[in-house]
């Protein structure tokens, strides 16, 4: 409520001949509103611990079967968080693993102690090939990861596990199975 008022007060009044498309007006007011809201939150939160996500929510793991011989492992890294590429490992149970997976390239981050390391952000998708088709078979995917938040905290290494049923030969990819379903929040 408050930020809407602030944003309309701050928005410069444009002369008629410089009319800006309505969409841009809207976007800029949304941006200003968001900025003001963030400022308000930051002010209200002075001295409070930062509102951080738990490990498994900052780095939400899911997996699906793309075809009978391929698993797709996926991390959705929350904005403001990153994973260390060289700390990312996958293991498969219930089917023999195939070739080593190819991890996406990340951005370099300098560290005085460990040297440079690559970090991954956003959606990180990795294909895990199986040595043989595991049609209609239950397969477990275990992901090991370690990451940090830009705000200045790091999370211990964690393991997340997903069990899925592989699609049959010509079947369509299965839906992603999440490692940490939303409802878990209520029990914490």
């Amino acid at each position: 409520m408050v930020f809407l008022r602030i944003s309309s007060g701050l928005r410069p009044r444009l002369p008629e001949h410089e009319a800006v498309p309505a969409g841009r007006h809207f976007l800029s007011s949304v941006a200003r509103g968001a900025g003001a809201a963030l400022l308000a939150l930051a002010t209200a939160g002075l001295g409070e611990p930062p509102d951080l996500l738990e490990n498994e929510r900052a780095f939400a793991f899911a997996a699906r079967g793309v075809d009978a011989q391929t698993v797709e492992a996926r991390f959705v890294v929350a904005p403001g968080y990153y994973l260390y590429r060289d700390k990312l490992h996958f293991r498969i149970e219930g089917a023999p693993a195939g070739d080593a997976p190819k991890l996406p390239r990340g951005e370099m981050k300098h560290d005085d102690f460990f040297g440079d390391s690559e970090t991954l952000r956003g959606t990180v998708s990795v294909r895990l090939p199986l040595a043989r088709p595991a049609a209609a078979r239950a397969v477990s995917v275990i992901a090991q990861s370690q990451g940090c938040a830009d705000i200045g905290v790091c999370y211990p290494p964690q393991e997340q596990k997903v069990t899925l049923t592989m699609p049959a030969g010509a079947a369509r990819p299965t839906a992603f199975v999440e490692a940490a379903p939303e409802r878990k929040r209520w029990f914490r």
Binding site: P49, P50, L52, I151, V153, C154, Y155, P156, P157, R188
Partner: protein, 194 residues
């Protein structure tokens, strides 16, 4: 809305049956009670979630952990000091970044009763190597990865690092900090406690 309708009803020639008005008022009352209950629950779970420490300073002083050289250290030996317990790890860059500040403070205020103690959520070998490299001037106890659960008991609900707790001379936890302890905050705490 409700008030306006009620006013309208009061002015009309046929007043609504009293039962219905009673129900409306009870509805408002129920909503109020529900709101209060929801607020109370929200505050309670918010506090639990945000991680008010469930363990006391006494629990901390009952602990004993090996230091980087493998010698068992009882935390009770630092009772009566202004104790800053810092949960950290070598794999945690923001933890390593704030340690020079702690080294400086330990140098400056150690004689006045300030004692830093690091608890590493890490392997002993890595802790030993790092502690020697930076010349740490306060004990680095090795807690292993289980030490993150210990920190949770002291309010680290998110279970991330660094996590720092400040204990006054009487053994009371007076401050907890997730993420780097801002130097200004440390300064003001020490001014009050030393």
């Amino acid at each position: 809305m409700t008030t306006a309708r009620e006013e309208g009803q009061a002015l009309s020639t046929t007043p609504p049956p009293p039962v219905r008005r009673f129900t409306a008022r009870r509805g408002v009352l129920t909503a109020l009670v529900l709101a209060v209950v929801a607020l109370a629950l929200g505050v309670y779970f918010g506090a639990v979630h945000r991680g008010a420490p469930t363990l006391s300073g006494d629990t901390l002083f009952a602990l004993s952990l090996p230091d980087a050289q493998g010698r068992e250290q009882k935390l009770a030996q630092w009772r009566g000091k202004v104790l800053v317990v810092n949960f950290w790890a070598t794999w945690c860059a923001p933890c390593r970044e704030e340690m020079p500040e702690f080294i400086k403070a330990q140098n400056e205020f150690g004689a006045r009763g300030l004692q830093f103690v690091g608890i590493a959520v890490d392997d002993a070998a890595k802790v030993k190597a790092y502690v020697e490299e930076i010349g740490l001037n306060y004990p680095a106890l090795v807690g292993g990865f289980g030490a993150i659960d210990l920190s949770r008991g002291f309010g680290n609900a998110i279970m991330a690092l660094p996590y720092t707790i400040v204990i006054d001379r009487s053994g009371k936890i007076v401050h907890t900090q997730l993420g780097p302890l801002p130097p200004a905050k440390l300064k003001s705490l020490l001014r009050d406690l030393l």
